[in-house]
């Protein structure tokens, strides 16, 4: 058929007439270039997109063909002029799209590739008045390898592959490959205005997507980048600052989770470093969460590294903690067996100026310097397969010890072979077999192994280290929220509301781990059953340790602080994210000053570089005092303490008129009787909870006052105090019912709880919390 070079044909596969009629409204208002005519073909009941487009292509003699979805609305009224200008500028341009990718992901999926686009959507633009102007002339375009099928414009006819694509997926990527094979270029215009809106409803029918994807990958295997190509592409695109040292790389990634790592590397490459919450949310899986969540940093973000130190990170993986180490030390050297993982870490730390990543086996590497710290997080257990020796674990640790400077420390994190989670039936983390570690791996016969507390201590000693100090990250070292130590074990089984979790699932779990912790702690067996260990190994004695730490990682970064205690009893609040939480630390200091000015007894903190430190208080906390009083049935003692707390709450702030009550302004369902609320405080110090108070010389001394809220009922502060106590000591909650009633909290509980949820929404990172809760259920 001779093609008419003055004709443009719109071809649409239609199964929804309403949508198509709407689509035609936009086509009908396009400016038609002088001398040209347009035609609109709808193909109904097409068996597949490729078949439908072939039918339309063959039915029209138009040289220029616009293939568009029925839910694509052409909002740029000069669209036809612009397309013709682009095609006429270069005969080699065969295809134009509005969304395309320069480098198609090795899994063939356009969504996993870098995309450029001039479609109208929230991510790209907020432009209205799309047809404001037409500028005839040369347009900047970007060559792409594939375009999305919602809008494809061609100036040559090449058959669509209806022989292999029988559904509604991958016809577009396939056609892009066919045009490339025919020697044509594919472009996406670099417009500052959108061409179209694609209203696909955001959620697609992907029932046959994977099947077609495999057909596509097989058909075009020589044209699609390999995973290795993608890594090179990312490096070229992002130009990371740190050095990737491949001189020890054996060209074989012996440890891998599989292709899922490519996806995670893609997420790292396509997002700003450490800003992954949205990426995890949109690409939700254990792998994306595990590798990218900031909660991973909790294994060491509380540890007092010397800022002038050199750190060796053995087995950096995809860089979960590497960036943090770079921020707190003078230099970081990473060793990673897998080039793919090392590249992920490199891209993640692409702006760091003090990092080198060496790809290879530690045993093969010659280091030019020694280190102040060496970290071995989730690595030791694999030495049965990685270190060629009769005693691989001891020899591996000996080798590491030789890399330490005098006074240097090794930090080992590993699961406890006898961790309580395994006793209740959780899958062993490496072999996936329940009860495997407890049975000395006789069930899986795996060469990977973890150790008991005693065995690990002896291994460290046999490696030559004179001193070891045990930490117990809970629920485990991978997603720790609280860190105990050999000098500070839990007081009860609650462990700061610690929740266990099980990957891949809890199907093999036969007992309630959370409930069992109470008796284990009470019987002094915590260290035997702790789920993980973090061991600090050194040749020289360490005078001061952090003995306890708890991290508030689920908060927005600007409120991200942790609390740690040091040997000697000193307490510190510290910034979790190397900078983001500093202004929140300043707020805490200001709150303390306000309380002191109002005559409330406060232990003042000393502001340091990234922390606030508090002197040791040799006094029981009100929390432990109330627990003791409940156990001893001392109701009058309890009432006395709460009366005194209430006096301090009132003392902390001036009172404002009842009509200023913030709860009434925000909650239209809240009762309006002012007597229900008690005095309304101009500046309520809502962190006046039992854990933040101590009895010193018969006076209540407060610490850690992070939050104030304006115009809040004094009884709301009591609510928070009682709720926090109740969450930490569920078994004792009923014993304080009379206090709930005395301060009007019982009748107003739902009202205060609603407000509390609203308040928490302003503090927490809701997406991060949702991601965490998906794997660590409440």
């Amino acid at each position: 058929m001779t093609l008419n070079s003055k004709k443009i044909c719109f071809i649409t596969c239609v199964n929804n007439k309403l949508m198509f009629e709407e689509c035609k409204l936009y086509i009908n208002r396009l400016h038609i270039p002088e001398g040209y005519e347009i035609d609109v073909l709808s193909i109904e009941e097409a068996s597949s997109m490729a078949a439908g487009y072939n039918e339309g292509m063959n039915a029209s003699d138009a040289k220029y063909k616009v293939y568009l979805h029925q839910d694509t609305y052409l909002v740029d009224r000069y669209f036809l002029h612009e397309m013709l200008d682009i095609f006429k500028s270069d005969d080699d341009i065969g295809m134009i799209g509005s969304v395309g990718t320069v480098k198609l992901s090795s899994d063939g999926c356009m969504w996993n590739s870098d995309r450029i686009w001039c479609s109208y959507c929230p991510e790209v633009s907020n432009i209205s008045g799309c047809d404001e102007y037409y500028r005839p002339g040369t347009y900047e375009t970007e060559n792409v390898s594939a375009v999305d099928g919602h809008l494809i414009i061609t100036q040559y006819d090449i058959p669509w592959r209806d022989d292999i694509f029988h559904d509604f997926d991958f016809y577009d990527a396939s056609q892009s490959m066919e045009f490339t094979k025919a020697g044509y270029n594919i472009v996406v215009p670099r417009f500052d205005k959108p061409l179209c809106v694609h209203d696909d409803g955001m959620i697609l029918d992907l029932i046959n997507y994977d099947t077609n994807r495999r057909i596509f990958l097989n058909e075009y295997k020589d044209m699609i980048p390999t995973a290795s190509d993608m890594l090179s592409h990312y490096i070229e695109k992002l130009s990371p600052v740190p050095k990737l040292n491949l001189s020890y790389y054996a060209d074989d990634d012996v440890y891998s989770e599989g292709d899922i790592e490519n996806e995670v590397v893609g997420l790292i490459a396509n997002n700003e470093p450490e800003d992954y919450t949205d990426a995890i949310f949109d690409n939700f899986s254990w792998s994306s969460f595990y590798h990218l969540t900031p909660i991973r940093r909790n294994i060491l973000n509380w540890y007092p590294f010397d800022p002038d130190s050199d750190i060796l990170e053995i087995g950096c993986g995809l860089g979960a903690i590497t960036g943090m180490l770079c921020d707190i030390a003078k230099s970081v050297t990473c060793v990673e067996l897998s080039k793919r993982r090392a590249t992920g870490a490199l891209l993640r730390c692409r702006h760091k100026t003090n990092l080198e990543i060496i790809v290879g086996n530690l045993n093969d590497i010659r280091f030019e310097k020694k280190f102040d710290y060496i970290t071995l997080i989730g690595v030791l257990e694999y030495q049965g397969t990685c270190t060629d020796s009769d005693d691989p674990y001891t020899d591996f640790l000996k080798k590491i010890r030789s890399l330490l400077k005098p006074g240097g420390k090794l930090l080992i994190a590993i699961e406890n072979r006898f961790g309580l989670k395994y006793w209740v039936g959780a899958h062993e983390d490496h072999t996936g077999v329940p009860f495997d570690g407890i049975n000395d791996y006789s069930l899986s016969k795996s060469a990977i192994r973890t150790f008991s507390h005693r065995d690990l201590k002896e291994l460290v000693k046999a490696s030559g280290f004179k001193h070891s100090y045990f930490y117990y990250p809970m629920p485990d070292y991978k997603l720790p929220k609280v860190i105990y130590s050999q000098d500070q074990t839990p007081e009860d089984g609650n462990m700061h509301n610690m929740r266990p979790y099980y990957i891949p699932d809890a199907k093999s779990v036969i007992a309630n781990e959370a409930a069992l912790w109470h008796d284990i702690v009470k019987n002094g067996s915590f260290s035997f059953f702790a789920n993980s260990f973090l061991v600090e190994c050194s040749d020289t004695p360490v005078n001061e340790h952090v003995t306890f730490a708890v991290m508030n990682t689920e908060r927005q970064k600007k409120y991200g602080v942790g609390t740690r205690t040091l040997s000697g009893g000193k307490v510190e609040k510290f910034d979790l994210y190397t900078g983001s939480g500093l202004s929140h630390l300043d707020t805490i200091i200001k709150n303390e000053e306000k309380l002191l000015a109002n005559g409330v007894c406060v232990l003042p903190g000393k502001r340091g570089d990234r922390s606030i430190s508090y002197d040791f208080i040799n006094a029981p906390s009100l929390d432990s005092m109330v627990v003791d009083m409940i156990i001893n049935n001392d109701a009058s003692g309890i009432e006395d303490i709460f009366d005194r707390i209430y006096k301090d709450i009132l003392k902390a702030s001036s009172v404002v008129p009842a009509e200023n009550n913030a709860i009434l302004k925000l909650d239209k369902d809240a009762p309006t009787d002012p007597d229900l609320y008690g005095p309304i405080l101009e500046n309520a110090f809502i962190d006046m909870i039992l854990r933040n108070a101590f009895m010193t010389d018969n006076k209540i001394t407060w610490i850690d006052q992070e939050w104030t809220l304006e115009n809040m009922p004094a009884n709301y502060v009591m609510f928070r105090l009682l709720k926090e106590f109740g969450l930490s000591h569920r078994r004792l909650n009923d014993d304080l019912r009379f206090i709930y009633e005395k301060f009007g909290v019982l009748s107003m509980f739902d009202v205060y709880n609603r407000f509390e949820r609203s308040f928490l929404q302003t503090v927490l990172d809701e997406k991060l919390l949702a991601e965490y809760n998906a794997f660590v259920p409440e």
Binding site: M19, L25, Y73, C109, P122, S128, M202, Y209, N283
Partner: protein, 154 residues
């Protein structure tokens, strides 16, 4: 994006179908609306809404009806409509509202108003669709536009 397998999509469809059947049975009586709202607010529906378009739309409609009920709106979106009709209404309204966003001719914009009046769609429902529809980008423009149209008939 995590690429779903054929089996996982089928499973999602089955789960979504169960919820839609439950909703279908409850539609038709106003006394059942709180139960529908509660059903669609649950975690499993929320989770399914990430991968099933109908559940996604039904959740938006359900939250809208909840608002309508709180505000004592006379005619509620759920009234006298099946699930298919509800989804069609949502999609049709979304299409029409786009005419305002992209300044289509006045006669076409007037059809938007005609549709809203004919279908007895409350202002709350219109605003809800504007706010929840991801492909309506300039939400302020569309909201102002539709309010102007509604005011023109008062």
């Amino acid at each position: 994006m995590i690429i779903p397998t054929h089996e996982s999509v089928q499973k999602t469809r089955q789960q979504a179908s169960l919820i839609k059947d439950q909703v279908s049975k409850l539609l038709g009586q106003r006394s059942n609306y709180p139960e529908i709202i509660s059903l669609l607010a649950k975690d499993d529906a929320a989770s399914l809404s990430l991968s099933d378009q109908d559940i996604y739309i039904l959740r938006i409609i359900s939250e809208t009806v909840s608002l309508e009920m709180e505000n004592n709106t006379g005619y509620l979106l759920f009234d006298n409509r099946s699930i298919e009709e509800l989804i069609t209404l949502y999609k049709t309204l979304s299409l029409y509202l786009r005419r305002i966003e992209f300044d289509l001719p006045d006669d076409l914009k007037a059809e938007v108003l005609d549709y809203i009046l004919k279908e007895k769609i409350s202002v709350i429902a219109v605003v809800s669709v504007i706010q929840n529809n991801m492909s309506i980008v300039d939400k302020d423009k569309v909201t102002d536009g539709i309010m102007n149209l509604l005011e023109s008939i008062l």
